[in-house]
Amino acid sequence: MTLTVSTLVAANLHLGHARQSWNQNMLPYIYGERQGIHIINLEHTIVMLRRAINVTREVALRGGNILFVGTRPAIHRVTVEAARHADAYFATSWVGGTITNKERVLRRSVGYDPDKVMQTLMPPEETASESGKSSSSRHGLKAQASAAASGEEDAATGRRKESRAPKNPQPYVHTPDLLIILDYANNAWAVREANQANIPVIAICDTDCNPRRVQYPIPANDDSVTGVELIARALSMASREGSMMRAERLAEKAKEDAAAVATHYE
């Protein structure tokens, strides 16, 4: 894929929104005005897109979770395909609390509901067993308590539960390490959550968006599906590259380690 200004123009990425609805923070990225709409300076777009590509590749190289967010129905398919090719993740509708309330919002993904944690009524020094229940199992309060106390095998997970040792069964809930937002205008909340959690955000910023809330803005037209697809593909390819490089390096390292072990035991 060649990233040239002509390619971007062909994808209508230079077309901004109406002059009246501009965000003044986009001034550096605006080339001018024509027929009542602002035209985005694609030289900036290319530079910032390449920066975003670099960031994506590096995050993928380091094993981070990359999340493509695209809420508009027209770009649902673009988002999902980008995530699939990138070995990354997608969100076609942002649920508030995905980052800041992840234990609850992502309980179905994790298989653990923190609000249904059962605690036995015994004093804490005797047994502090908290039996985590996966959402597919159907255990009553008494059954869980008795099962926890007697140290039975948990039917859902097959793990043998210790009755005496205190546990913290809340499993780890992942956060994205990079957010790629393909329609910033609809996902200001996602950007807010990411900023709260210090997660970098790449976003396609149109002339009515505020690029200052985003760490790697890409000034471009967010209404054109072909344009968004182009950018999403570029970022998706970068992410794929990064994860492939990581896989290679991990394989090399594994080989080296194996060789080192072999030589050690010779």
Binding site: V47, R50, V95, R108, S109
Partner: protein
């Protein structure tokens, strides 16, 4: 913009990156030259900088130096839809969409599966939430069911469709609904059918014959006295053109004459549909095969019938009018008798149409000259009470 690019490319130096380069060979960006003025960037020190740098220089955490270490304490999530909070739903929808796209099905309208007779019983919203662990709202559920129906209608295209759809079938039901047992002729060529009307229940056996219709052991003309009842029973046969082609043996219990006749008529129509299936839509349009479910409505307490009400409550306007007429009649009678010479004297309270209270009671005081007694008779509501005292 294009000319600027051309000149830039012509004078490319080691510092300025070529905008046509591929992704893999990107030179470090001279951000100082190209970044907008308001964007702050941090200066990452090169590896040659001394370890004892001043506190104003930013140094990334050395914990991140190991690129191959896992940044999270758990392995990466498997599902693409991990961060949606609804991973199984999205995985399912992705598989359905893939099938729809693969076979290029037009899923825009519901006409796709309007022809399908027996759609399988899909899971309800709550069942999907419980068994498949979907988080659904009504609109999403309806769209999902629409896609399932579209794929079910196009089942013949691909065997994989059936396996995919199986997961959405209601627990206890199957994808291929067993067809309802259709009625057929028995070993003797008879059809059995049933009909009812009000309290009459009828069974009919129809066999090819000469046109004899027997009800409860006797010919129908003996059983039914009214011509209307006979016509009702014969109507389906007439429409089918089979009056002389079939024999009917009917048993009917309950109800009265016309109820039994209508019950037998429905049974005959249904039996004829078994003999000649093409008649079914014709009879359905005529309404001959549908049982009339109307039953006698029960009587309610405080009323003389099911709907009829008692007449305690007379309409005010009519009541007043009645009272006017009544009072006028009484007064004119009293006046006439007085004028004709009888000894009746009319004494009313204030005049012609007065003496009427707001509760529609009024008093006619008629007294005789010879009697000091006055009779007060309250006239209330619909009742009229006249007392005349004569000498």
């Amino acid at each position: 913009m294009q000319r600027a690019l051309a000149t830039a490319a012509a004078t490319a130096s080691a510092r300025r990156p070529c905008l046509h380069s591929s992704l893999l060979r990107l030179a470090p960006l001279p951000t100082a030259l190209l970044r907008p003025a308001h964007v702050r960037t941090y200066a990452f020190p090169s590896s040659s900088s001394s370890a004892s740098s001043s506190s104003s220089t930013f140094r990334p955490n050395p914990a991140y130096d190991d690129i191959l270490a896992n940044p999270h304490p758990a392995p990466r999530p498997d599902s693409l839809a991990y961060f949606t909070g609804n991973p199984r739903y999205f995985a399912a929808v992705a598989s359905l969409n893939a099938l729809i796209r693969k076979h290029r099905l037009n899923f825009r309208d519901t006409e796709q599966y309007a022809h399908v007779q027996h759609k399988p019983k899909w899971m309800t919203m709550d069942e999907m939430a419980e068994y498949l662990e979907f988080r659904l709202v009504k609109g999403t559920y309806e769209e999902l069911v629409h896609k399932l129906n579209v794929l079910f209608a196009a089942q013949a295209m691909d065997g994989a469709i059936a396996t995919t759809l199986q997961t959405f079938v209601k627990p206890g039901a199957t994808l291929v609904t067993p067809s309802r047992p259709t009625a057929s002729l028995d070993e003797f060529g008879r059809s059995y059918s049933y009909g009812s009307r009000k309290t009459a229940k009828a069974q009919a056996w129809i066999i090819a014959g000469t046109g004899q219709v027997y009800v409860n052991g006797v010919h129908m003309s003996e059983h039914f006295a009214q011509a209307e009842d006979l016509e009702a029973i014969l109507r389906p046969l007439v429409l089918a053109g089979g009056v002389a082609k079939y024999n009917v043996w009917a048993l009917v219990r309950g109800g009265g004459q016309s109820g039994q006749a209508a019950a037998v008529a429905v049974a005959v129509a249904r039996g004829l549909c078994v003999h000649e299936p093409p008649l079914a839509p014709i009879f359905k349009d005529e309404g001959l095969v549908v049982i009339d479910t109307r039953q006698v409505e029960r009587k309610k307490t405080g009323q003389p019938g099911a709907r009829k009400k008692n007449t305690w409550y007379v309409d005010d306007a009519a009541d007043v009018k009645n009272k006017h007429y009544l009072l006028a009649a009484l007064c004119s009678y009293a006046i006439a008798s007085y004028l004709s010479g009888s000894s009746v004297k009319l004494l009313t309270r204030d005049g012609f149409a007065t003496g009427r209270t707001s509760h529609h009671t009024f008093y006619i005081i008629i007294a005789t000259t010879h009697s000091a007694q006055t009779e007060f008779r309250p006239v209330c509501k619909a009742q009229a009470f006249l007392s005349l005292q004569f000498d």
